[in-house]
Point group: C2
Chain length 410, copies 2
C-alpha cells in the first residue's frame, strides 16, 4: 500500500457494500493502490493494472450519501462534485477494500469484487448464454416444457426462460384451456405490451378483419408489427381451439436464414442489411410506418433483429437499380424462409402456449377452413428486454449462492 489513508487500516474490517443489489465474489486482491492526477492506479494480484477515473470512482461510491440506500440510484449528482476533484490518498483496509481519500475531505471505500468486475480489461460480469441458431432439424427436438411445472418450480422456469433466449422459442404444454392463460403466464416474464390490436388479441377469422391475421388466409413466414419502430419482442400464442382443416403453424429462425443468405448470396444479404424498406400498415384510422433494413446487425456483425414482412411493405421509392436489387434480395430471403430445410411445422394443441422472439423467429400458418372446425388462438407480447432482465436476476441469484460459498472459503 503506497499511501496512508485517513481512517486507517483498522477502521473497516468488513467488505464495503456493493453499490447495486448484485453479489460479487472476491476473486482477486489489491496489491497496490496510488493516486495520480485524475485518478487512482490499482495493481491486482493477477497482474491486472487499472486506472480508475476520479469521477467514476467518486460517483460510484456505495455510501448512503452517494447512493440512495432504498432505490440504489445516485443521490449525489455528478454536478455536485467540483471540477478539480482529486484523489489525495489511496490504499486498502484490513478487509481488502480500496480506500480513497478525496481532495474534498471525504473518503470512499470500494468492495474489491465489485471493483474488479467493473475494471477495464477484466472481462464482463454477466453475459447471456449464446444463441443457438436452428433449421428444420429442430422439428425433432422442439423445446417443450410441462406448463404447470414451469409455473411452480424455479429451476423449470429458468429452463423455459433460457430456451426462449437460446432457441428463440419454447412451448409450454398442458396448460388450462381457458382464455385467461394468455394474461397470467407471459406476465411472469414482465408486463404485457399493448398495441392497437389490444393488450391481448384473439386470432380468429373475422368478417371485419383489420389485418390478414384475422382472415382464414395462409400467412407466409413473417414478424409481427414490423411497422413499429420497436417491434414487439416475445410473442405468445395460446391455443384454445384448433379443429379446423389447415391452420398449422410454421416457424423459422430468421437469424439462421440471414446467416444462410450471407453464405450463399452475400451481395443480397448485404442489400438487406443496407437498403431501408418501408414497412407500413394501411388502415382507416391509423397510419403506422417504419423504414429500416430488413436485417440489423450488431457491432460484431451478428444478427440483432430481423424485420420480416412479405405483405406489409409500402411501395419503396428508390432508383430502378436499387429497387431491382432489393426485390432480388427480398425474393431470395422469403424463399429461403419457406424452404422446408429451414422451417418447422407445429400444430398447436389446445392448452399449449407457444412463445417466440418476434424479432428473430418468423411465424406463419397454412390457410384454414372454418367450416371444418374452429381455430382460436389468443396472443400477447412481452418485451425481449424483460426476458433479459429475468435472465440477469436468475444469474444474480446463482452468483449470490456462489459468493456465499466463496465467502466461507475465504
Amino acid at each position: 500500500v503506497s499511501d496512508p489513508v485517513r481512517g486507517g487500516d483498522q477502521a473497516a474490517a468488513t467488505l464495503a457494500e456493493a453499490p447495486d443489489f448484485d453479489s460479487y465474489p472476491v476473486l482477486h486482491a489489491i496489491k497496490d493502490a496510488s493516486p495520480f492526477p485524475g485518478g487512482v492506479r490499482v495493481l491486482w494480484d493477477d497482474g491486472l493494472e487499472c486506472r480508475y477515473h476520479v469521477f467514476w470512482l467518486r460517483e460510484n461510491a456505495p455510501d448512503p450519501q452517494t447512493m440512495h440506500p432504498v432505490t440504489r440510484e445516485q443521490a449525489l449528482q455528478l454536478l455536485d462534485l467540483p471540477d478539480d476533484l482529486e484523489a489525495v490518498a489511496a490504499g486498502t483496509d484490513a478487509a481488502g477494500n480500496l480506500v480513497v481519500g478525496w481532495s474534498t475531505g471525504d473518503e470512499s471505500r470500494y468492495h474489491p469484487g465489485w471493483l474488479y468486475a467493473h475494471s477495464h480489461g477484466a472481462g464482463g460480469h454477466f453475459s447471456l448464454p449464446p444463441r443457438k441458431l436452428w433449421d428444420a432439424a429442430l422439428q425433432e427436438d422442439l423445446p417443450r416444457f410441462h406448463g404447470p411445472t414451469v409455473l411452480q418450480d424455479e429451476s423449470a422456469f429458468t429452463d423455459w426462460a433460457e430456451a426462449l433466449h437460446i432457441h428463440g422459442l419454447a412451448i409450454l404444454e398442458d396448460l388450462p384451456r381457458t382464455p385467461d392463460v394468455i394474461e397470467y403466464v407471459p406476465a411472469r416474464l414482465g408486463p404485457l405490451r399493448t398495441s392497437n390490436f389490444g393488450r391481448v388479441f384473439d386470432v380468429r377469422s373475422r368478417p371485419d378483419a383489420d389485418s390478414n391475421a384475422y382472415t382464414d388466409l395462409a400467412l407466409p413466414l413473417h414478424c409481427d408489427l414490423t411497422t413499429r419502430e420497436y417491434q414487439p419482442g416475445l410473442q405468445f400464442l395460446h391455443c384454445l381451439e384448433n379443429e379446423s382443416t389447415g391452420g398449422d403453424s410454421f416457424l423459422a429462425d430468421g437469424f439462421h436464414i440471414a446467416r444462410h443468405l450471407s453464405e450463399t448470396a452475400p451481395e443480397l444479404f448485404a442489400a438487406l442489411t443496407r437498403i431501408p424498406v418501408c414497412f407500413a400498415n394501411k388502415a382507416r384510422e391509423t397510419d403506422h410506418r417504419w423504414e429500416a433494413p430488413m436485417i440489423r446487425l450488431d457491432e460484431d456483425g451478428e444478427c440483432e433483429e430481423v424485420r420480416w414482412s412479405p405483405w406489409l411493405r409500402a411501395p419503396v421509392v428508390l432508383s430502378f437499380e436499387e429497387t431491382a436489387l432489393l426485390y432480388r434480395a427480398l425474393r431470395a430471403a422469403f424463399a429461403a424462409a419457406e424452404d422446408p430445410h429451414h422451417r418447422i411445422k407445429v400444430r398447436l394443441r389446445p392448452g399449449e402456449l407457444l412463445g417466440f422472439d418476434n424479432r428473430r423467429i418468423l411465424h406463419g400458418r397454412s390457410g384454414f377452413n372454418t367450416s371444418s372446425g374452429a381455430r382460436w388462438l389468443r396472443g400477447c407480447s412481452v418485451e425481449r428486454e424483460e426476458l433479459v432482465s429475468r435472465l440477469r436476476i436468475i444469474e444474480r441469484s446463482k452468483r449470490g449462492h456462489d459468493t456465499a460459498t466463496a465467502g466461507n472459503a475465504d
Copy 2:
C-alpha cells in the same frame, strides 16, 4: 402511348383505386409509357421520366386479388410471381391510368396520382412539420390549450397534436381534477404503454420508493426509462395536487442542448454521439440496462433522440482516456441543461396536463417538502409513433378534401 394494351382505352373511364386508404390528387398526366426488360418506362407531363420495376408495379396493383379489399394488405405474395415476370405492354386509358399488360396474361391499372406520388425523384407525399428547438425564451410563449376544447374540437385537437411534435411539449388547461383524466386524454393519441411502473403511475413521495421519482428529492433534468431499448415516447403528467413548497417542474429541449454543445464544444458533442453509456436500473427483482450513446443522430445529422440520465447510469467500463472524455462531456451536457438560459420552469396547477416528448424534452423538479402540503401527479406514456400516425391521418384527411376539390376542378 407506345403500346396497345389488352382491354383497350375504352375499358376503364374512371380512375383506378389507390392501393391504400389515402387520397391522391392528379397533379400530372402520363405522356408516354412503354415496357422494357424488367420494368415500365413512364414519361410524365412535367418532364419527369421514371422506370418502375416489374415486381414493384405488380405487387402494388390495386385489384382485389393483389390487395385484400378489407385489410388493404397484400393478398398476392411476392413469391407467387414468376421469376421471369415481364411487362409486355404499357399505355394509358381514357381516365389517365397507367395500364400494364403482364407476361402472365394479367393486366393492372394504376391511379396516376398514386403513381406519381410514389415515383423516385418526385418528392415525398407526406412529411412532418419541422421541429422548433427552444430555449428559456419559451417561458413566455408556452404552448397552452384549453383542454375541454381540444377534446371536443377537431381543429383544436390538431393544434395540440402538432405542438407536441413541433415544440415537443404542450399543456392542456382546465381539465377535471380527477384521477381518470390520465387514462382517457392521452389515449386519444394511442394506446398507453405499460412499464414495470404500471400502465399509469402516481408521482408522490413514498416510503418504499423504488425510484428517486417517488421520493421528495430534487431531480435534475432527465428522460424517463433511459434503461430501456425503446424509451417511452410521449410522457403525460396530470396534476391533481400541488400545494407543497417546492416541487416546481423544469423542462429543457434536449435537442437544443445538443445543438448548443455541437456549437460550443464539438469534441464533447461528438463523444456523446459515439461513446456508449450504460443506463441501468438497479432493483431487487429487475435488472434493466441499455447501452447507447446519449445523443442519437439521424442520417442527416439531426437529433433523433437523447437518452439523458444524470443518476441512472451504471459504471462504464472503458479505458481511462475514454472515461475521462465521457465525464467531461457528461458534465458539460448536464450543466448546459441546468443553465437558466436553456430551461424553463413550470408550476403545474391542479387540472393541468403536461405532455412532452420524453426522447427529446428533459424534465426535472425542485425538491419539495411534503409537510407543507400535498403533491400528486399522475403519469402515463404513449409512443411517439402514435402521434406521428395521428399527424399522418390528419394530413390524409386534409388531402382528402383537397382531392375532392381537385376532382371537381378536373
